[in-house]
C-alpha cells in the first residue's frame, strides 16, 4: 500500500508541476501583462501559498458552507424573519451594501480570473483562481440573502444597473475600475493588500455586527460564510507584498507607491461605510472612530512595524485619515442629507438618543460642530422647510465623492478643502492632498473619469431634470427621501400591525419584474 503523504507534500504534488514552458509562443507573449509595470520576479517557486488548500478540499468546504447558508436563508424566508428586525430603517444599510458592495464582489471575481491567467507562477495562479470563485460566490450569496428583503422593501431591485450609473455608486465603481485598469500587480496590491488586508475589517465588521445587533440573522450567516474566505484573501494580500519585496529591491518603491495610493482610495470609499455605521443602524455596536482605532491605528500600526524590515512605511496620509476619524461619518451623512431625494435609500436626522450616543463617541466634535447642524436642520424641517440641496455638487476628480471634506489637519474643520491641478490647459479639482497626489502622479488616467454630475450637464443621463435622471438610474420615485414618511416605513408599520397597509406601499408589477 502506498504511503500516505503528509499535507505539505500532497499539496505540492497537487498544485505544482501544473505549468509548462511554452514552445509555440514566447513566455513574454503568453504572460504579456507581467513585466510592464516594472515589477521584477526572479523566482516564482519562492511563492509560499498562504493556505495550503487544494481544489478538492476547496470544493468540499465551500459546498458545506453553502448548504448551511441556504438552509438558514430558507428558514429566514419561511418564518418571515425580517419582522424580527430592530427597525426597518436598518434595511438602509443592506440597500447600501447590495448597491455598493456586491457589484464589487463581482468585479473582484472577474479580476482575479484575469490574474489567474496573467501571473505566470502556478501557486499564485491557484490562489487567484480560488479567490475568483470565492468572489463570485459572495456576490451570489449576497444577492440571494438580500433578495428576501427586496420582496418587502425598496431600493434593492436593480443594483448592478445602478452601480454603473448612480452618482454615489460611482465612488466604489471608480475605485475598483482604477485598480482593474492597472496591471496585475497593482491590482492585487490594491485589492488584496490595501483593501482586503488593511481595511476589510472596517467594511465587514460594521455591516455584520450591525446585522447581529439589529436582528438580521440572514446577513450574519452570510458574513460567517464569507469570513473564512476573507481571512484567506487577507493572507494572500500579505503574501503578495512579502513575495514582491523579497524578489527584488527595485520592487519596493513601486509597491510603496501602490500601497499609498490604494490605501487613500479605499479609505475615501469607506466614508460611505462610516456614515452607515454611525447613522443607519438603530442599534450601534461600535462607532466609526472606535473601529478606525482598533482596525487601523492598532492593527495596521503593528503590521507596518513588522513590514518595516522590508523598508515598507505606513501609507502616505494615514495620519490625515486618523485625524478625520472624528469628522468623516458626520460629513458624509451631511452630503446625503443634502441629496437624499436623489438616492435609493432613506435616512433621517438622528433621534435625541442617537445624538447623545454620537456626543459620547465623538466628545471633541459632535456637540461643537455637528449637533448644531442637526438642530438647524430640525428647525427648518419643523417650519416645513426641510433643507434639500437643489443644485448638483462639485465632485472630486479622483474619489468622485462630492467635495464635502474639510481642512481638519489645518485646524479649520468647518471649511471645505479645495485642491486643484492644471493639466493640458484644464483645471481638475480634488478633495484632499491624498486625491490630488494621486491625480498629479497619473493625470492622463484621471482625466478619463466619468463624473456623474458633469455627465448630467452634458446630457448623457436621461435628461436634465432630477426625475429624468433618477428614472435613468432605474430608481422608483419612492426609493429615496427621508425615512419618516417613506413607503418603507409605512409598509413596516403595516407589517407590525401598527397601521393599515397603504396602497402606495404595495409592490407593483414593475417591482416584481
Amino acid at each position: 500500500m502506498a504511503k500516505k503523504l503528509n499535507m505539505r507534500k500532497r499539496y505540492e504534488l497537487l498544485t505544482r508541476g501544473l505549468g509548462w514552458e511554452p514552445t509555440y509562443q514566447s513566455k513574454d507573449k503568453v504572460f504579456a501583462q507581467e513585466a510592464y509595470e516594472g515589477i521584477k520576479i526572479t523566482d516564482w517557486s519562492k511563492w509560499e501559498d498562504p493556505f495550503r488548500l487544494t481544489a478538492d478540499a476547496y470544493w468540499k468546504y465551500q459546498a458545506e458552507k453553502d448548504k448551511k447558508l441556504y438552509a438558514v436563508m430558507d428558514s429566514f424566508a419561511q418564518n418571515n424573519a425580517h419582522l424580527n428586525l430592530a427597525d426597518a430603517s436598518y434595511v438602509n444599510a443592506l440597500k447600501l451594501f447590495i448597491q455598493g458592495v456586491s457589484p464589487l464582489e463581482y468585479a473582484a471575481h472577474r479580476n482575479f480570473a484575469r490574474l489567474a491567467r496573467q501571473l505566470s507562477g502556478e501557486g499564485a495562479q491557484i490562489a487567484c483562481q480560488m479567490q475568483s470563485i470565492d468572489e463570485l460566490r459572495h456576490a451570489q450569496t449576497q444577492i440571494h440573502t438580500i433578495s428576501h428583503y427586496n420582496k418587502h422593501f425598496n431600493g434593492m431591485h436593480d443594483p448592478f444597473h445602478m452601480f454603473d450609473r448612480v452618482w454615489y455608486l460611482s465612488v466604489p465603481k471608480s475605485y475598483f475600475d482604477d485598480a482593474s485598469s492597472a496591471g496585475p500587480f497593482e491590482f492585487i496590491t490594491s485589492v488584496s493588500f490595501s483593501f482586503e488586508y488593511l481595511l476589510t475589517n472596517l467594511l465587514f465588521v460594521p455591516f455584520m455586527s450591525g446585522a447581529a445587533y439589529n436582528g438580521d440573522m440572514a446577513t450574519v450567516t452570510f458574513g460567517f460564510s464569507a469570513q473564512s474566505d476573507e481571512s484567506r484573501h487577507m493572507t494572500l494580500g500579505l503574501e503578495i507584498i512579502k513575495f514582491l519585496l523579497e524578489q527584488h529591491e527595485d520592487n519596493l518603491p513601486i509597491v510603496q507607491g501602490w500601497i499609498d495610493k490604494h490605501f487613500w482610495r479605499a479609505y475615501r470609499l469607506l466614508g460611505l461605510v462610516a456614515m452607515m455605521q454611525d447613522y443607519f443602524l438603530p442599534e450601534s455596536p461600535m462607532s466609526w472612530k472606535e473601529g478606525w482605532q482598533i482596525y487601523f491605528v492598532e492593527n495596521a500600526g503593528a503590521l507596518f512595524n513588522d513590514l518595516g524590515r522590508y523598508g515598507l512605511k505606513m501609507p502616505k496620509y494615514h495620519e490625515i485619515a486618523t485625524a478625520e476619524a472624528d469628522h468623516i461619518s458626520h460629513q458624509v451623512f451631511g452630503i446625503f442629507y443634502n441629496y437624499i431625494h436623489a438616492a435609493a435609500f432613506n435616512l433621517g436626522l438622528p433621534s435625541e438618543a442617537k445624538m447623545n450616543w454620537l456626543s459620547e463617541k465623538y466628545p471633541d466634535t459632535f456637540d461643537k460642530y455637528y449637533r448644531p447642524r442637526m438642530e438647524m436642520w430640525a428647525e427648518m424641517a419643523k417650519e416645513g422647510k426641510r433643507f434639500f440641496n437643489m443644485g448638483l455638487p462639485q465632485l472630486c476628480q479622483v474619489c468622485q465623492i462630492p467635495m464635502g471634506f474639510t481642512e481638519i489637519a489645518k485646524g479649520d474643520p468647518m471649511q471645505i478643502a479645495y485642491r486643484v491641478s492644471e493639466y493640458q490647459g484644464e483645471k481638475f479639482h480634488t478633495c484632499s492632498d491624498g486625491c490630488k497626489t494621486i491625480f498629479d502622479y497619473e493625470p492622463a488616467k484621471y482625466v478619463n473619469a466619468w463624473l456623474p454630475v458633469h455627465q448630467i450637464f452634458q446630457g448623457n443621463c436621461g435628461g436634465a431634470a432630477v426625475p429624468d435622471v433618477l428614472n435613468w438610474y432605474h430608481f422608483h420615485p419612492e426609493d429615496g427621501g427621508d425615512y419618516v414618511g417613506s413607503a418603507d416605513e409605512a409598509r413596516w408599520k403595516a407589517m407590525k400591525g401598527e397601521a393599515a397597509a397603504p396602497e402606495a406601499a404595495q409592490p407593483t408589477q414593475a417591482d416584481a419584474a
Partner: protein, 120 residues
C-alpha cells in the same frame, strides 16, 4: 509620471472639455464656513452671463434656504477666484471677469459664519 501601458500611449480623453457643455462652461461656487450646504455647487453657465446674475438668480436657487442667505450684504462679500482674491464687476460677463471653464469661485460673508456661528 506617464501611465504605464502594455503597448503604446495611455488613451486619454478629456471627458469634461468645454466643448461638451452645449455652449456653457462649468463654474463651481462655494460659500466658505457654511458646511450645512455640503459642497460647492457645480453650474453650467453661459460665459457671457453677467456676473450679477450669479448673485441675483443662480445662487439663490440653491443657497436661499440657508438662514444666513437673506442677510448677506453683497457689497461686503469677499471673493476668491481660483484661489486669488478678486473684485467682480457685476455688470460684466463671467468671461470678462476672468471666470473660465471649471473655475472655482468662493465667497466669504464676514459676520455671517453659519448657524449660530458654528460654520454650518
Amino acid at each position: 509620471m506617464t501611465v504605464k501601458c502594455i503597448q503604446g500611449e495611455y488613451p486619454s480623453v478629456h471627458m469634461d472639455s468645454v466643448d461638451r457643455f452645449h455652449g456653457n462652461q462649468l463654474v463651481y461656487v462655494g460659500w466658505d464656513h457654511h458646511t450645512s450646504i455640503c459642497t460647492a455647487n457645480a453650474y453650467p453657465l453661459p460665459p457671457d452671463m453677467p456676473f450679477g446674475a450669479l448673485t441675483e438668480a443662480v445662487l439663490p436657487s440653491v443657497l436661499a434656504p440657508h438662514p444666513d442667505f437673506a442677510h448677506i450684504d453683497w457689497s461686503k462679500v469677499e471673493w476668491l477666484l481660483d484661489g486669488q482674491t478678486f473684485t467682480p464687476d457685476m455688470a460684466k460677463s463671467l468671461k470678462d471677469n476672468g471666470v473660465g471653464h471649471k473655475s472655482l469661485i468662493r465667497f466669504k460673508t464676514p459676520g455671517l459664519n453659519g448657524y449660530q456661528g458654528t460654520g454650518n
